[in-house]
């Protein structure tokens, strides 16, 4: 049951990551088009500013994908010398701590968004972008990450309580079995 949930989350986050990736590709296209336009003395303007927003969105929405693909770096020196239950304890403990920190981040991101909404803050640039437009989706990305981390942690704890600790390695271990780079 837990593994089925993890599989669903993986599929879901692959789709999210793909959308983020396509957005990134779109940003690259936009920058290149702007460079081309400049050669004929025209320009969209504001590429640097938009690139900053793109980067914030890429980092908040991509995090959960990296989590489910075991992409976030962990130091494996002690853990590698353990096995079975003990190793699973390392993994579950690490996931609990991570979930706590990510949830804290997500909660603390709210005041930033709230200020932008209250003040109607706009970027101090020629575009004068209303910051809420970019900060709300950015904040949602961190909420998404926190939610995914919580679900993964719950799945791992549940497996552990049912005496199947070794099965957690496939989704909260230190490294992916097969790295996505081939």
């Amino acid at each position: 049951m837990e593994l089925a949930l993890i599989n669903k989350l993986r599929k879901l986050n692959r789709i999210v990551a793909l959308i983020v990736g396509i957005g990134l590709l779109g940003m690259a296209t936009f920058v290149v088009a702007d460079i081309a336009l400049r050669q004929i003395h025209a320009s969209f303007g504001g590429t640097e500013e938009l690139a900053g927003y793109a980067m914030a969105l890429v980092s908040s929405w991509g995090m959960a994908y990296a989590l489910l693909e075991l992409g976030h770096i962990r130091i494996d020196l002690l853990r590698a010398r353990t096995q079975g239950m003990l190793r699973a304890l390392f993994d579950v403990f690490s996931m609990i701590v991570m979930t706590g920190v990510i949830a804290t981040i997500a909660v603390k991101c709210w005041p930033v968004v709230a200020r932008a909404v209250e003040n109607g803050s706009r970027a101090n640039t020629p575009l004068a972008t209303p910051l809420a437009w970019v900060q709300i989706p950015w904040f949602a990305g961190w909420i998404w990450f926190a939610t995914m981390a919580s679900l993964v942690t719950l799945a791992a704890i549940s497996l552990m309580l049912r005496g199947q600790a070794s099965k957690t390695e496939t989704f909260i271990g230190a490294f992916a079995e097969q790295d996505s780079l081939k």
Partner: protein, 427 residues
Amino acid sequence: MITYVSAGLLALLALSIPVGIVLFLLGFGVDQFYTNFPLSRALGNMVWSSSSSATLIAIPFFVLLGEVLVRSGVATRTYAALDSWVSWLPGGLVHANVATATMFSATSGSSVATAATVATVAMPQAEKLGYDPKLFSGAIAAGGTLGIMIPPSINLIVYGFLTQSSIPQLFLAGLIPGLGLALAFLAVTAILCTIWPELGGHRRVFPLLQMARALIDLIPILILFALIVGSIYRGWATPTEAAAVGVAGALLIALAFGGVSWTMMRESLLGTIKVTSMIMLIIIGASFLNFTLSSAGLGRELTAFLEGLGLSPIGFIMVVVLIYIVLGFFIETLSLMVVTIPIIVPMVLAQGYDVIWFGILMIVLIEMALITPPVGLNLYVVQGARKSGNLNEVMLGALPYCLTMLAMAFALIAFPDIALWLPSALN
């Protein structure tokens, strides 16, 4: 405070908590124990301001560029071509790793992306041809660090920004030390493999005709280099924008070689998001830790320490080198630069040193930090591309190159012109 952070870092990392998360935890700790101010209230602001950076978008662009080259087969062909030219040296294919890394450094602004690109194409060869994994993977991790010395370089841009020094000059100053390091890596590899032949693989001599034909396979990467660096120096794009030009160029090249497919694009994008997220969690965590540390007075602690030593300029610079080596063990490199530049550079300049020269010296030290454990991104990138084996092997294999970098640091101190000659000659 320095002691607390170092000890806490080691303990939390040993528990195998993700590195980025550990940095946040240490930041919370500094907030809790070393200041009376509610620093954690700024957490959300730090996360926003450190991630919404146009400069950083060069990271996913350069990673994507590498992924496209790898998955379309262009990188493999480049690697094979360089292999046919350098594998007659003692150490064989290990030289191809260094040569390929050097070549990709000229198209990449980041060391992590350079290492990732080379690791992905080289690792399968190591197993096929039976290489000792230590030196083989160490050479990739070390060669990858050239990505920030040979222009373009994200780190030099950051240095130029923080010290208000000229980025074009910094780029020029990095060229000779970068190529010098590349040659030194080749020499060290050859020497090691002459003494202990089992470290390298077979020396292979390729027929002249095949070598000549291999040159054709180097053309795509040379075009890409011309496109990226050319677009900067010919006046089309800023260094960050050049990364996007690189992506477009890589896609066109891949298209020309028939290497573009829906699957390949999907996997490239997914790989890019995964690597970028991994790096960004660490960069955001490091920014928050940096914020708490400087709020709690790390700058004063360091300044008081350095001034208390009462050293001569040369003694002072030696202490600075030592500080970077030690901090480089623990702190992610971009954050290491951001944390230390505002504190260290003014003191270095006050001792009469040149700001461009020190930028290059710092980059050499930062390159070392990239391959020293426990926080050494390049080690993990290379380990990530391997399918088996232990991280210790990569660390051990990187050690000789690490010492080479140290030698380069001393050479720069003894002969500043290694860095300064080119910018002044072209002025």
